[in-house]
Amino acid sequence: MSLLKINDLKCHYQTDTHTVKAVDSVSFEIKEGEILGIVGESGSGKTTAALSIMGLLPENTAIKGEIIYNEKVISSLSEAEMDRFRWKDIAIVFQNGIEVLNPVMKVGIQVMEPMNRHLDISQDETRGKCADLFRAVHLDPKWMDSYPHQLSGGMRQRVLLAMALSCDPKLLILDEVTSALDAFTRKEIRDLLVELQKKNGYTMLMISHDITFVSSVASRVAVMYSGRVVETGPVKDILVSPRHPYTRGLVHSTPDIFVYKDLWGIPGDIHTNSDFTGCPFFSRCNQKIKKCNESAPELVPVGDEREIACHRGGVAELLKANDLNYSYQLPDGHYLKAVNDVDLEIMEGEVLAIVGQTGSGKSTLAHILANVIKPENGKVTFMNESSNKANYGNKLNGIQIVFQDPFNSTSNRFTVLDAIKEPLDINKIWSKEERVEMAKNALELVHLPCTDAFLNKYCGELSGGQRQRVALARAMVMQPKLLIADEVTSALDVSTSANVMRLLKGLQNRRGFAMIYISHDLSMTLKIADRIAVMNHGRIVEMGNSHEVMLSPSDEYTKRLIDSKISV
C-alpha cells in the first residue's frame, strides 16, 4: 500500500516579475517501508516538492494537484489541521544550513519541543527520550545543553535527525542530509540512516543531488529535471543503464560511478523561460526532434518498473551493426578474418571506445561502419536506414571518420582552407561563401587560427598536431552525428595527443555527437569513454560500461590488457 501518493503536483512560485515552475506535473508514490530517492541538479525543484508535502511552501506559491497521505488528502488541509500531521506522521530533516536550528535555543530544547507538543508524556520522560535520541544518532547527550553555533556541521545534522525522529514519524523526508558534510561524516550518516531504517522500518523520501549517496540507500529513484520527473526506476537499473538523456548525463558526470573518466558535465544550463511548453531538457538534449519543442513528454512506463518522459523513449539508438564479417586475402592465399561476427550498437551522444592490440581488426571495423568498405555479410543501420542505401558519409549530420595518420588524411598539396571545405565542395553543400564561413568556424572549433595566412598555408607545412586538427575540422564541417576517430593520436607525441584528445572530447560533449574512439591505449580511452568494446582477433570479446570493464573484466584477453596497463 502506498503511504504517500502525489498526483500531478504543480508548485509555481509567483514573484513580482515572473513565475518559477519549481515543480510541474509531478506524480510519484512511496510504499510503506520503502526508500525513494529523488535526484536532480540544484534548482530542479526537489526541496520544493518536499516542502509541499509538509505544507510549508511560502504564500506566493500557486499549488495544484493532490497529496495523499495514508489515503487522506492532506494538500487541502488548513494550517491547524496540517499541524496534526506534521512531525507526528511526517517529519523532515532539512537541508543543512546554519540557521535551520533556532540560534538562541538550546538544541536539546529544540529536539524536545515537538515531543512536548505532540506526545502525551511528562517533562522527565521527554528529557530521557531526547537523550536516547541523541545516543541513537551517535551524539553524546551532554550536547543537549549547547546552542547550535557550538556544534559542528556534522553534529548539527545529527541533531536535526534526532529532532526528526523524536515523534516516531511514519514518513521521514531527508533533504540533502549529507551534501554539506565531508566524505567521512557523510559515510557515517549514511550508515546511521541504513541502521535506523533497518531497526525501525521508516518510510523515507531521500532528496539529494548526489546520485551515489541516494543509490546507496534508496531502492528506487526518481530523477527530476527542471521541475519534472524525467525518469524513475529501481536504483541499480538506473545506474547501470540510464535511459533518459539527462539521467545519462547525470550518471556519467558522477565521479564515484565513473572512477576513471574525466569529468565532463552536462553542457548548457537549465532553461529559465517559464512560457516554454516543450521538453524541459530541450535546450541541452543532443537527440531532440521537432516534437520536443512543441510539447513536454509525459512520464510513461517502459517495463521493468521503469518510467521515462521522453518523446524518443529515452536515449535513442544511432547505429546498429549485425553479424559483420570481413576477411583479407593474404599473399599465401589464406584468408585472415579481420572482422568476425561483430554485433554492436551505439546510442545518441555516446562515446564508445574500441580497444585492442594492433591487428585486432579495429580499423577494418571502423571502415565498415563508416561505409568506406563493404562487409562480406551482415548489415549496418544508421538512424534506422541501411548503410547501403543512404550514403551517410556524404551528408550533413551523417558519419565522419578521422584517420590514424594525419599525413595521409590531408593531402600536402591542399591549402588548409581547401582541405577543410573539400567534403562540402565534393558534395555541393551550401554556397561557396558559406563553405568558407563554415570552414572558418570549424577551425575555430579545433582551436586553430582562422587568419588568411593560415587558411592559405599548405597542409605540408603544418605540424603533426596541427594537421590532425585540420583533419578534425574537415570532419566537423559536415556536422556529423557520429564521429569515428581511428587512432587519431597515435602518431602524435604525448603532450600533443593529450591536447587533441581533450579537444575531441570537449567537442563531443558540447556538440553532443556520438563517437567511436578507436585506440590501443587503454588508459587514454578510459578518460573519455562511456562504454568500452574490447577486440581480439576480429571479435568483440567484451563490451560494457567502461568502469565495469575496468573493475571486473570477464574475458581473459581483457584482463591481460588491463594488467599490461597497470604494470606500466
Binding site: D83, W87, A91, E99, V100, L101, P103, V104, Y147
Partner: protein, 327 residues
Amino acid sequence: MRNDRNSFIFRLLLTLFVILVINFFLPRMMPGDPFSTTSDDDSGDEVIIMTEEQRQYYMNYYGLDKPVHEQFLVYLKNLLKADLGRSIYYKMPVSDVIMLHLPWTMFIVLASTVISTIAGVILGTFSAKNRKKGSDRIMMTGLIAFAEIPSFLLGLIMLLIFSVHLRLFPLAGAITPFAHYSGLGEQLWDILYHACLPVMTLSLAQLTGVYLLTRNTLITVTTKDYIRTARAKGLGEKTVWTRHALRNALLPVVTRAGFMIGIMMGGVVLVESVFSYPGIGMTLRSAVVGRDYPLIQGILLVIAVSILICNLLVDKIYSKLDPRVTI
C-alpha cells in the same frame, strides 16, 4: 581574552578622559562668565549686575581667575575625590543639586522607554503579522508621519490640549507644591499624575522607532530557516511567533532600548523644559543660562557616564540573550 579585557578598560578610560576634557572646556568656550551675565533670555529672572570688585572677588573665590590648565588640574584632582565642586547659582555642592534632580529624569526616561518598547513591540508584531494588508499599511504610514513631529512640539501640543484646555493634567512640576499626603499611595499617585504627560510625550517620540524596528526585524526573521523548521514541527502559529520569531526579533529591540535610554538622558532637556519638569534637563538649561560652570560640568558628566553605563549594560544583556555573542 585577558588582552581583550585590558584594551576594553583602556578604551573606557580614554573615552572618559575625552568626555572630561570636553566637559571642562565646552562651557568655558561660551561667551560670558557666571558673574557678568547681563542679559538673561529667561525673561522671568532678574538681571544680576555686579560691580567689578564683587566680580573679582567671586572669580577668585571659585578659582576662575587662575589659568585654565590649572583650573583643569584642580577639577581633575577634585573629581578623584568625588568632589564635583559647588554650584555657583544654587550655592551648594553640585552633587547635591544633581541628586535632587536626577531621579526625576531617570524616572521619566525609564518609564517612557519601557512603555514605548512594549507598545512598539506589540504594534510591530501586529503589523508584521498583517504584512502587506491594509491595517499594516495604515499603521506604518501613520506612525512614520507621526515620528516627524519634534518631541518638544509634541509636548507643547499635549500640554495645550490636556492641561490648558481639558485641564486633565498639571501645567508644570513633578509634584503638587506644598502638598501634604495622607499616605504613600497618595504621594505616588501625585507623582504619576505629574509625570504622565512628559512620559507620554517621550514614549510617543520613541514609539515609531521601536515599532519599525520590531516590524522589520520580525519580517526578516520570519523568512529564516528556523521559522520554517518550527512550522514543520507542527508547533502551532502562536508558539512559532512567540517562542521562535519574537524571541529572535527582540534582540535588536532590546539593544535599541538600551541605547535609547542613554540618548534620551541628553535629549530630555527640551521635553523637561516644556513641562517645567524638575529633572536634570531643566537644571542643565538654567545652569547654561547662568554660566554655572561646575554645575554644567557635573550634569554633562552624569549624562555622559549614564550613556556609557547604558552601553555597557546593553552589551551585557545582549550576550545573555544571544548565546552566539561572547564577551
